[in-house]
Amino acid sequence: MLLSDKLKDNILDSIGEGVFTVDKNFKVNFFNKAAEKITGHLKEEVLGKFCKHIFRSEQCFSDCPIATVLKTKQNIFDYTYSITTNKGNKLPIKINAAVLYDDNNDPIGGVVSFRDLCEFELLGKNLMTKKIFQGMIGYSKQMQEIFELIDEISESNAPVFIHGESGTGKELVANAIQKTSSRNEFPYLKINCSVFPSHLLASELFGHVKGAFTDAIKDRQGRFEIVNNGTIFLDEVAEMPLQMQIQLLRVLQEGTFERVGESITRYSDVRVIAATNQNIQDALRRGTFRDDLFYRLNVIPIYIPPLRERKEDIIPLVKHFLNKFSIYYKKEIFEIEEAAIDVISDYSWPGNIRELENVIEYAFVRTTKKDTIEKIKLPNTLLEYKTTTQFTKNITPVSITNSEKSELLAILEKNRWNKALAAKELGIGRTTLWRKLKKYSLIT
């Protein structure tokens, strides 16, 4: 079925790219809706006019894309051009151009499709911000999902519970949540729940009145009072004493609390972002963290994966830290040896990004003469880890048994050669232990 001209026009009007065609005199004879939107010119105004009068580009006189196609007989793709819009603004565009031929293969016109380059730049910026989001670097799918989630919850006031190993960047995530939230103009306070004894934590969070305890020489506002309408970040919340957990639960449920030593109930509208590096399920099982508080806090859970589970983030992070230390130490070291990258990539990073940052700083400081971080400048922990894993990878069965022998010996030494205790610690029966000892000639 052949398409009618009207249908063809409808199709061209429905696409996002601006499209126009010219006749062989370079007069516009088609102009789609997107072209109208991008240039600000109406179709009726431009039809029959010379394209140079519509687009008013200096390049029309020196670098006409259709003329280039005519000369080179090669269509043009993604060519950067600058036009003047109807309002007189310069607009960078990306264009594709082709020449239209009649049945005799004589050129009868040209077709140009174009896109607002600002849109490309915006898209590029968006992509960049997806990889570097609010100061966080995350090329991995897991991190990009977190960035997306933070964007999605920006309108919400619901509590957020950030889970992740130490050094994964929980505080950065909390900062990003606060920054992108509707409360970003209001106070934002952070408190590490593990560093305060329970009575001081209560005072820190809810305030106290003069005389409430020995050092309470005057009334003091607590953090919840100070950040009214704002956000509070409770780091290491699982370390919070159980009594405090009840008080926190009340603030979350009712928004009310009392200063220490006072019976006046105060109200505060605070968004809570909590974080823990503990296995919260274990803490719930052990009863060191209240179920009801967990469910209150865990409305929006965010799990930050450890670095070893998102290895694609390692190299961008390394580059980021190199840039950071270059500025800090005023040394131009922006490169890193391939061999060093291998070591860094293979390492398990138990201390996550914090450990990676420390490692890069260590190597950076040690690198004095070159502009590249060398493998040998990395800490021994990493170099030995590599050696060990390589060794383990190439291991023969004998090596495994040697390792078992070493383990046996270590446990026997630890238990002063008490075989019953050693067997218990190894989780094996005494007969099995005896057989192993015999096998490795540890007994006669």
Binding site: K24, N25, F26, G48, F50, K52, H53, C60, F61, S62, C64, I66, A67, L70, K71, V99, D106, P107, I108, G109, G110
Partner: protein
């Protein structure tokens, strides 16, 4: 290809390049008045006055209105800008016959009376130039026909 490329150079005011492609196009399509009209201007602007004059005479022999009645804006005719530029360039040899012929040609696109004035001045320099006499005759004839319309 040549005509379209010539057209592009013409609207970009690159008369030398336009001339090259339009000449090729005219060989392929010798009766194309649109190509000829552009070539008249290109030749006039690149110093090939006799060739310009020859094409010019051929057109006005058959269809003087094709030049006189050109829609300057709609056809993006460069003649008004050319004349403006010439007026600002005082170093040109104003007494040469080529100069007068060139102005006579270009003026016909904009103002027939000015065109005739320059052709008359050229005739004073070269009185025995039959093609020029013929051009003046055709222009005079057209002026008379215009005047007769107004006198009626």
């Amino acid at each position: 290809m040549n005509e379209m490329l010539g057209n592009q150079y013409f609207i970009a005011r690159n008369f030398l390049a336009a001339q090259h492609y339009l000449e090729e196009a005219l060989i392929k399509d010798p009766n194309n008045k649109f190509i000829s009209r552009k070539l008249i201007i290109c030749h006039a602007q690149t110093g090939r006055i006799s060739e310009s004059f020859k094409l010019f005479k051929n057109i006005i022999e058959t269809d003087i209105e094709f030049i006189v009645n050109i829609d300057l804006l709609d056809e993006d005719c460069p003649c008004p800008e050319i004349l403006k530029l010439i007026e600002s360039q005082k170093e040109l040899n104003e007494s040469s016959v080529d100069y007068k012929l060139m102005l006579g040609i270009i003026w016909l696109f904009c103002d027939i009376n000015n065109s005739k004035k320059y052709f008359d001045e050229a005739k004073k320099i070269v009185p025995n130039y039959p093609d020029l006499e013929r051009v003046i005759f055709l222009i005079d004839k057209h002026i008379q026909s215009i005047n007769s319309v107004f006198s009626d």
